[in-house]
């Protein structure tokens, strides 16, 4: 289909057909003070060449992770993306495809989603996964609503180790529901166990958590189940599942996650791909789209969207979720990357990530004033600096090192975390990057 802009003539015909004088009249319901009164201050016209030059010069101001040594993490991670991922997802059949409502013309898209679901189920240790959600935060918030539907309870406990953005999205999404959300100050599994009672719908933990700490939540899941509550484990660094005990083995009831680390660049924070998997017994309460395997009338294997009756286009306001789409292309990138890695490659990649973080932590030991607060970590940990982390990060960025994410940037009101810096290492982190980090931090602190 070509994109053909409308002519003035076309517009006038349509306006006269519906009996409207001009286009402004169509917006008369918009409150006057919400309308833009003057034009946006932009140059009226520039040639293609001029636009390219000026946009390129803007873009050069960015300090990107593929130019500078980067230790950024805290929910988004720079990983190597094989060139074939980008090549394959740009095939027109995938790149421009619409929601695969018509299985007769969408087998490729449906099969890709089906494989994606299988991969997500396998790596999270669960029985079913949906065809993806917007991102890790929305997936976690959907997991919470799902737990409330299943348990018919309304008390939610959020671990202090949960990413602050996830915490906020859960609260925003449930603002008009009568839920009682407890953002606790504890993260430890023992302390969390004590908060659960017979009114608890679910407890949400993250592993590895926001500060990079790793825990085994088996005991927590057992306590949850004693009280009839559900355990939701959020995973922001999906590569960790190549090395750690998966949430399913720990007894999680719902796993929510951010799949960006596989196949997707950090891209200023999105678009990403939310993962949501669960036990088969909760399938009907799972939000979002689901591709299912079936056979056609000749008995040949095929795929369709299934259980759509839970979804918004059929059940309207009674749907399991307001999310009525998925991150199709990002999910495809995830699946291609994971397929290229294979099971062994995935495990190896996880081990390399962990090793790089160990190397980084050892190098940091030479800095007396810097304290590593984690007892455990995967590829990310939190440092306590002798000065506020935000200014240190600014200074280091000016010297060409992206040092990490200051906790205070995400938890602005907590003064105890002012000096805390979250740093991540991945397979992209080189020994020279680590050297630069340590040298630059030493200089900045002195």
């Amino acid at each position: 289909m070509r994109y053909l802009p409308l002519t003035t003539d076309d517009r006038n015909k349509m306006l006269s057909e519906i009996g409207v004088g001009d286009i402004e009249e169509l917006f008369k319901d918009v409150p006057n003070d919400a309308l833009l009164k003057s034009a946006i201050d932009l140059p009226s016209h520039k040639s293609e060449m001029e636009v390219e030059t000026s946009i390129t010069s803007f873009a050069k101001k960015n300090k990107t992770t593929n130019v500078f040594p980067s230790f950024l993490g805290a929910g988004n991670y720079s990983h190597h993306i094989p060139a074939s991922v980008d090549h394959l997802i740009q095939r027109g059949e995938f790149l421009t495809s619409y929601t695969p409502y018509q299985p007769e013309i969408a087998q490729g898209t449906l099969q890709a989603l089906f494989e994606f679901q299988t991969q997500v189920s396998l790596i999270t240790g669960m029985e079913v996964a949906n065809a993806s959600m917007y991102d890790g935060a929305t997936a976690t918030s959907e997991a919470v609503l799902m737990a409330c539907r299943i348990t018919r309870r309304d008390k939610i406990i959020l671990s202090n180790g949960l990413h602050p953005h996830y915490n906020e999205v859960i609260k925003t999404n449930s603002r008009h529901l009568k839920l009682s959300i407890d953002s606790t100050s504890v993260y430890n599994k023992k302390a969390l166990c004590e908060l659960i009672d017979e009114n608890t719908a679910c407890i949400v933990v993250q592993n590895p958590d926001f500060f990079g700490r790793v825990q085994d939540f088996t005991e927590l899941s057992e306590t949850c189940h004693q009280y009839g509550a559900l355990l939701i484990i959020a995973v922001t660094e999906i590569i960790s599942l190549g090395a750690l005990t998966n949430p399913g083995e720990m007894g999680a009831d719902i796993v929510s996650g951010e799949g960006q680390s596989l196949g997707n660049p950090i891209s200023f924070g999105g678009p990403h791909v939310g993962l949501l998997s669960t036990r088969e017994k909760f399938l009907r309460q799972m939000p979002g789209r689901l591709a299912g395997e079936t056979v056609d009338e000749d008995g040949k294997r095929g795929w369709v969207l299934t259980l759509s009756t839970r979804e918004q286009h059929i059940r309207r306001e009674k749907a399991t979720s307001n999310i009525c789409t998925n991150s199709g292309l990002c999910a495809l990138a995830f699946s291609i990357h994971l397929s290229l890695l294979g099971e062994d490659g995935f495990t190896q990649l996880a081990k390399i990530n962990h090793q790089k973080a160990i190397d980084l932590s050892k190098a940091i030991e030479s800095l007396d004033e810097v304290e590593l607060i984690n007892e455990t970590f995967f590829n990310e940990f939190t440092l306590k600096l002798p000065k506020p982390a935000i200014s240190i990060v600014e200074e280091m960025a000016n010297k060409g090192v992206l040092a990490g994410v200051p906790v205070k940037r995400l938890i602005p009101h907590d003064i105890d975390t002012e000096n805390m810096l979250i740093v991540a290492a991945t397979e992209l982190t080189t020994n020279s990057d680590i050297e630069k980090f340590v040298t630059c931090l030493r200089e900045t602190l002195s």
Binding site: R152, R284, T309, R310, I314, R315, K318
Partner: protein, 125 residues
């Protein structure tokens, strides 16, 4: 005694019994087609007449089931979880959804009897 609603639910109560059973009618199951899933209310939940108490899902559609009378849910039909086809096979017997303790016996009188309901659905086709 068995009574019917215009939304195609039935409610049955025996004389002297404390529990009334609720389900969907044979006509309703035929309209829905193969039923694949039923979402049942929680035990102890109090419903008013006309409240949405359950959801029935078929290969064609999902539909709400409204409580024909007010009362407290005492029992749900656990068999439907594994065998939702019970509703297709025995809609007005073993395919019941839930049992409740009626709080307003008089509400039953406002509903249709078998003859009235048959006449009502006769006018629908």
């Amino acid at each position: 005694m068995i009574k019917y609603t215009k939304q195609h639910e039935w409610v049955a109560i025996n004389d002297g019994d404390e529990k009334a059973a609720v389900g969907i009618t044979d006509y309703a199951q035929k309209q829905l087609g193969d039923i694949v899933y039923v979402e049942l209310p929680g035990i102890g939940v109090k419903v008013n007449k006309g409240d949405e108490a359950a959801v029935v899902e078929s290969v064609k559609a999902a539909a709400e089931v409204y409580s024909p009378i007010s009362g407290e849910i005492l029992e749900v039909n656990e068999n439907l979880a594994d065998s939702p086809e019970l509703i297709n096979n025995e809609a007005e017997a073993n395919g019941w959804f839930f049992k409740l303790a009626p709080s307003e016996e008089s509400e039953l009188e406002e509903l249709m009897d078998k003859e009235g309901y048959d006449k009502y659905i006769g006018g629908l086709d």
